[in-house]
Symmetry: C2
Subunit: 355 residues, 2 copies
DNA sequence: CTGAAAGCGCTTACAG
DNA sequence: CTGAAAGCGCTTACAG
């Protein structure tokens, strides 16, 4: 039999109420320092830990947060979730919360489960992650059920009062363009995604706005490539760019796309015996990457795996605070990760001699 | 206020006990079909879901399983955990269990938390994942606390009664060698890890044993390379192998290592204008990979990301059964994933013309 | 400083 | 077929 509150109370000849009060540091409970010490000591000696279920039932608080998402086929999403769960769980653990992870194949199942979560009082809050088309109805449902939640995404214009978080995509692309222009490049191509999603538009907007601001002109529309995260279309596009005459050929690349775009870029360059470098001469690139990422051959400045771990760390305190309702809540978080040198495998290529 | 059991009972003028009995399909409860239907209907109409805490308290069962691990620096571990959590959570959800994920920086914290889990009755079972040096003491502790658990790893000789799962590494390497020999290769090099861990020894043993069995001789010890999962040492080793005279040079590679070994292999070959292929002529390779993995240039047969998802799917039913104790428990699970063609980026390299 | 009592929302014999 | 009652293990006013 595991130790219960009454066991430690009995051992000390005290009432369970007192022991409970002391152990929980309740401030309307009075006990001598000596008694407190005895209680704490006895609890430790008996290896007492309150029953989670009993506490949840009497307190009406579970100290549990549920991370809910729809499973996506795109492996990049799964990877991001993996890192996120790892970091989120670690952060919440530190604050005394458990993280339960639940995923479903369909949006219907997600919505049904959110209903159940709310009415079975199985958690204190929910974290929603995924595409905006999915998370918006999910968040709406939780909102109507008065269940606290945090949602990943850019819902700031439609739902400014939601507790939401995402990257500051416009700012990130600004950093990218500033970096490339700072190196001395003026002909900058853009590789991005073709999807109609908030972050895609944000990245594109950031590129265009900063290009205008720093170079005084709109980007050359023939140097804008937007493709799925596959090697072939990116490779095709980049190799055409590199085959342009020198006056039209880009010398730098702003990447608002995935790892396949980077791989295509590096391979196209490798064909010409070139590789990326952070210099005014030759070719340079900067941009976002999925996690985990290493360049194969060269060097570049990247937002590493968009630092999803840091995103989790950044947002957790706000979530906890929102739950304890001690401070006014900041609703819209825009995270600005650091642009830094990418890890590189530095695989020697072409004519270079191997050791 | 959320609906409680008494609410639906009151609405139907029935006692809570009856409603509870019917809703839980208890077999010593008698109610007419009509009454049953009314109860189910009313529960649905009121959106009734029993309080998880109250159920846990009265039943002494939480329907929760906790996944505990120590955070490791190696990103490959994190990735594996990510995919695992995804799959495990999905599987358990289907069986009515919640998965809570907890990770800690140190082994001490893990052990302390396991203590707490056991004495706060916060879960029905624990899943342990990580290196055997960590999981062994963890499992021992849970064992002594009578907390059911499943542990990843190869503890079959030291603790045959533990509910444990891992890949059948010997068998996997057998498949690899059979595949390469089947293609017609006889000079097979081996790339592995240098660590003193169960799976490393298993892979190596599988390679040696099968080599002897199929080729009638021990492997050439100069064609055994065991390195950390980094490009440089693998690249160095493979390029030396490829520079050997034809009578000594390997034409095939059995990989019991990580993605860096594959990258090194492909790049070494690319220098020579070669790439991997599943043929008797040229170079072939087969082996294990970390998740997610694509070859850059060529083709090969691999155990894809060691199919950690399938491992989770494979093991969940046993875990659930162990908890309900309906069937005798199979303790040691050895999973045999399928050897299949690796995804490849098929990046055209070298003198090849781009479209 | 201390203790008896009610309540959280269920489940489960048990008596009718 | 049905209902009153005790119990799961805590917390929390409240009375002393």
């Amino acid at each position: 039999m595991r130790t219960r509150l009454k066991d430690v109370a009995a051992k000390l000849n005290l009432s369970p109420a007192l022991v409970s009060g002391v152990l929980n540091n309740r401030n309307n409970v009075w006990a001598s320092e000596e008694t407190r010490a005895r209680i704490v000591e006895a609890a430790a000696a008996l290896n007492y830990h309150p029953s989670a279920a009993a506490q949840a039932l009497s307190k009406g608080k579970t100290d549990t947060i549920v991370f809910v998402y729809r499973r996506l086929n795109d492996p990049a999403y799964r990877l991001a979730y993996g890192g996120l769960v790892d970091a989120l769980s670690a952060e919440l653990q530190g604050a005394g919360y458990d993280l339960v992870v639940t995923n479903f194949a369909t949006q219907e199942e997600v919505l049904e489960h959110l209903q159940k979560l709310a009415s079975s009082r199985a958690c204190d809050a929910v974290v929603l992650w995924g595409r905006e088309a999915d998370t918006e109805p999910q968040a709406k449902l939780l909102d109507s059920l008065k269940m606290p939640f945090l949602v990943k995404g850019r819902h700031e214009s439609s739902h400014p009062a939601w507790h939401q978080i995402d990257f500051d995509h416009e700012w990130m692309m600004e950093q990218v363009v500033e970096r490339l222009v700072g190196l001395g490049h003026t002909k900058i191509a853009y590789l991005g995604f073709p999807h109609d999603e908030g972050f895609v538009h944000g990245l594109r907007r950031g590129f265009f706005d900063t290009h205008r601001k720093l170079l005084g002109s709109d980007p050359d529309m023939s140097l804008i490539g937007e493709f799925e995260d596959e090697v072939a279309p990116n490779l095709n596009c980049v190799s055409k760019w590199l085959a342009l005459s020198e006056d039209r050929r880009p010398s730098a690349f702003a990447i608002g796309a995935g790892n396949r775009a980077w791989q295509a870029l590096e391979c196209s360059l490798a064909h010409l015996g070139e590789q990326l470098d952070n210099r005014a001469t030759g070719y340079a690139a900067a941009g976002i990457t999925s996690s985990p990422f290493s360049l194969m051959f060269g060097r570049a400045n990247v937002f590493q795996g968009i630092e999803i771990d840091n995103l989790a760390r950044y947002v957790t305190p706000g979530l906890i605070r929102a739950l304890s309702e001690k401070e006014p809540l900041q609703f819209v978080h825009r995270f600005r990760p650091a642009l830094s040198e990418s890890p590189t495998l530095a695989i020697p290529l072409g004519g270079q001699k191997l050791s």
